[in-house]
Amino acid sequence: MPIDAAHAGRTYPPTAPYLVGVEKIREFATAIGDPNPAYRDAGVARALGHPDVIAPPTFPFVLSFAASRQIVADPELGIDYGRVVHGEQRFVASRPVRAGDLLTTTVSIDSIRSAGGHDMLTTRSEVATTEGEHVVTAFSTLVVRGPESGA
């Protein structure tokens, strides 16, 4: 059954504040195999004009992915997570995430459409400091594969 497009526009409550740690950034940078010192050495980051070590451009996925669990778990949408495929991803940043940031993520469903037996959800995760400074917006397109596509 297609997901009801009437749910487009829905916004979920902000996530609990997430404190971005130096070691979490280092762990993420190591996981993507990137030795860039701006992710590890505060002196290098400061020389580039940042107050502390910064996170890689795709790090905000950690926050948006966690926030998007609210969508996947929403009983009114009834999404079967086993059928979800990541279609598109985009990050639009006001500045890089950095160590010491205390961030909340507010996720919304921008649109829902059905095509070819699949449902396509576009989601928007607004990542901001607890003081209200916008840091980055993560846009995702999730494709929920229809039953006739197998799996």
């Binding site: 762990e27 993420f28 190591t30 996981a31 993507i32 195999g33 990137d34 860039n36 701006a38 992710y39 020389a47 580039l48 004009g49 940042h50 910064i54 890689p56 451009p57 795709t58 996925f61 950690v62 992915f65 966690a66 086993g82 495929v85 990541h86 279609g87 598109e88 991803q89 985009r90 990050f91 639009v92 940043a93 500045r95 890089p96 846009f139 197998g150 799996a151």
Partner: protein
């Protein structure tokens, strides 16, 4: 921003140094832990095959992160990447051997924008096939 590349030194068509980046099973396990995305198709071949995939596949977000490296290494300041988007057009199967898969990333300055920004278009392939489509980054140069 303090990028090592100046806006004045680039033009449409300027090529960024390309890179070939490995993707092994252990990389996917590490990325799952670091990102929180433990979807079984990224580490369990039995489940991956049961849903019609050829093998364990890389997280699209892992491939997206690898590709960004070409832009951040070039810019010098990773914080200069102000906009970065991709389409996940084809999965990257990662065989259970010591070599895994390889992602090849090429990039070129495609558009000169206002405020000393440029749009970089990336070509991201694995085994000769495009795996990320419409891969674009906007970089704030100095």
């Amino acid at each position: 921003m303090a990028t090592q590349i100046s806006y004045d030194d680039v033009e449409v068509g300027t090529e960024l140094p390309s890179q070939q980046l490995p993707v092994r099973r252990v990389d996917l396990v590490r990325y799952a832990g670091a990102s929180g995305d433990f979807n079984v198709i990224h580490w369990n071949a039995r489940v991956a095959r049961s849903v019609g995939l050829p093998d364990v596949i890389a997280h699209g977000m892992f491939t997206m992160a690898l590709a960004a490296r070409v832009v951040t290494d070039w810019a010098g300041d990773p914080g200069a990447v102000v906009d970065y988007g991709v389409r996940f057009t084809r999965p990257v199967p990662v065989p259970d051997d010591d070599e895994g898969a390889t992602v090849e990333v090429a990039a070129v300055v495609a558009v000169l924008l206002e405020d000393r920004r440029v749009r970089v278009d990336l070509t991201v392939t694995s085994a000769g096939q495009t795996v990320l489509g419409r891969a674009r980054a906007v970089v704030q140069l100095s």
